[in-house]
């Protein structure tokens, strides 16, 4: 099925939730409200002639100062049976950074959602194990946000200070001649 047809069908089925549809370079993105994301994904997954069985990717995008709602969670879906793809984008605001986890539909969303939580601070409700994944557990801030400095925070991470201190201690070791 052509991606634009899928988007139209989605619009027919969930008229209140689809905000707009955009096509660029033959790829269609559907922007939607976040409230019924699991229901929409379940529909796309289960419907026999859509059958989006393969979740390619989940990632966050930070539109700081560019859009009214700061974050977008982007889902890339693919159907191995029918060989078509579509992109869903759910808007998430900074004040209410919650969205339902799509893990009940695709278990492969597990680590992608953890990453979006780690690097953007978007919280996925219903995720079985939402912890930081790429950054250390006691890291402060979310590095992929646009207001996060590229060179890192002013304050050193405690784990690194620990390493520095240990290195200093070891360098003070003196070899005694016998």
């Amino acid at each position: 099925m052509e991606p634009i047809e899928i988007a139209e069908r989605l619009k027919e089925r969930f008229p209140a939730d689809i905000l707009h549809i955009k096509e660029f370079r033959g790829q269609v993105s559907v922007t939607l409200r976040k409230d019924r994301i699991v229901e929409i994904c379940r529909y796309l997954h289960d419907e026999p002639d859509l059958s989006f069985d393969y979740l390619t990717d989940v990632c966050g995008v930070d539109y700081l100062g560019k859009k009214e709602k700061r974050f977008e969670v982007v889902y890339h879906l693919y159907s191995i049976r029918h060989r078509h793809m579509i992109r869903l984008k759910a808007e998430v605001s900074e004040k209410d950074p919650y969205i339902d986890s799509v893990m009940p539909v695709w278990v492969g969303a597990d680590w992608h959602e953890r990453e979006a939580y780690d690097l953007f601070g978007i919280v996925f409700k219903g995720h079985r194990d939402l912890r930081r994944i790429l950054m250390p557990e006691d890291w402060e801030g979310h590095p992929l946000r646009k207001d996060y400095p590229v060179k890192g925070p002013e304050k050193e991470w405690p784990g690194f200070l620990d390493v520095l201190e240990r290195a200093k201690r070891f360098s003070e070791f003196e070899w005694h001649e016998r």
Partner: protein, 399 residues
Amino acid sequence: MEDIEQTEKTFETKELTISMGPQHPATHGVLRLLLTLAGENVVKCTPYVGYLHRGIEKLGENRTYLAALPLTDRLDYISSMNNNVGYVNAVEKLFGIEAPERAKFIRTIVAEMGRISSHIIWLGTHVLDIGATTPFLYAFREREVIMDLFEMLCGARLTVSYPRIGGVRNDISQEFLDELYDFVLDFPSKMDDYETLVTENRIWKDRTVGIGVISAEEAINWGLTGGTLRGSGVDYDVRKYAPYDAYDKVEFDVPVGTNGDCYDRYLVRMEEMRQANRIIRQCIEKLPAGPVMADAPKFTLPPKDMVLKDMEHLIHQFILITKGPTVPEGEVYMGTEVPKGELGFYFVSDGSGRPYRMRVRAPSYVHASVLPRLCEGGMIADVIANIGTIDIVLGECDR
């Protein structure tokens, strides 16, 4: 007798939690697994990744499209050529330009060389983990030939950065083609050597048949790709499903397994190497003549000799390097088949010369997440077989 019964009653067993890695030789990088063991059985397995996180996505957002190319070398560092090819393909799709035919064939050749070299490393280390040392030594012999060819092609062996947005950096020489063709003719016999050593080996089969089984439906649901998915019998291959470069002009088969265990995944990857060899051979035979860079002056750098001679070209190069090209607003996702699976790049462009968001969908990241599913309920020795069979590189996993 009574004593023995007494001791049996008071003998308590308890679960043991051990940390495997991050510096374990069989974890192929800095992967840490927290294993809860009941005797030799794995009750719970929790992977910890991120030790090699360098923020490549964040760095990419602060560089021009041209300057972010070398970052992709550092993703999956044993098949950097394939990452470059994936990156330039995605950027070309965003820019709306197309590489000339000859460049497409060259890219296909080097990508398949990268596939062979990566699979050879996988084969060597996977069998080494399980206890066979000999194939490892042989495998590095063949990899060395490919590394030398890369060096002849672009001067670098590991982090190549050879493809460019809109083509490739330089044309390939006849000398390179001749040596590559010799390698291609010779390679099937080398594959036979490996297969004699490993495929029907009884110890190898004992260690891999029926280990880490995952069904087709489950594998798709987990988002597995590449050889890891095809071992379960799904013929999903980006090169066939959404052909890029010259893959629609060559013939090759996509091998699939049936049982979805370690042994099937091994067979699939072995056959993939033979198919890669077949693709290279066809590409050399069909290689068309012509330019190797697209004629798209707004996006590609001007030729170096013109830059040194002509003021306009110099200014043009200066603008492209400092400010970056003017890119249409929009977003693009493009997946390519790298040795590990599907490597996807997702770009959001805001019209400036730098990507607003650069997302790397790394196959190793997804494959590492499936480890608990494969390992739990098995033996601790099979954890090693499972790590080897999903073929992960932590540089790509952590990005």
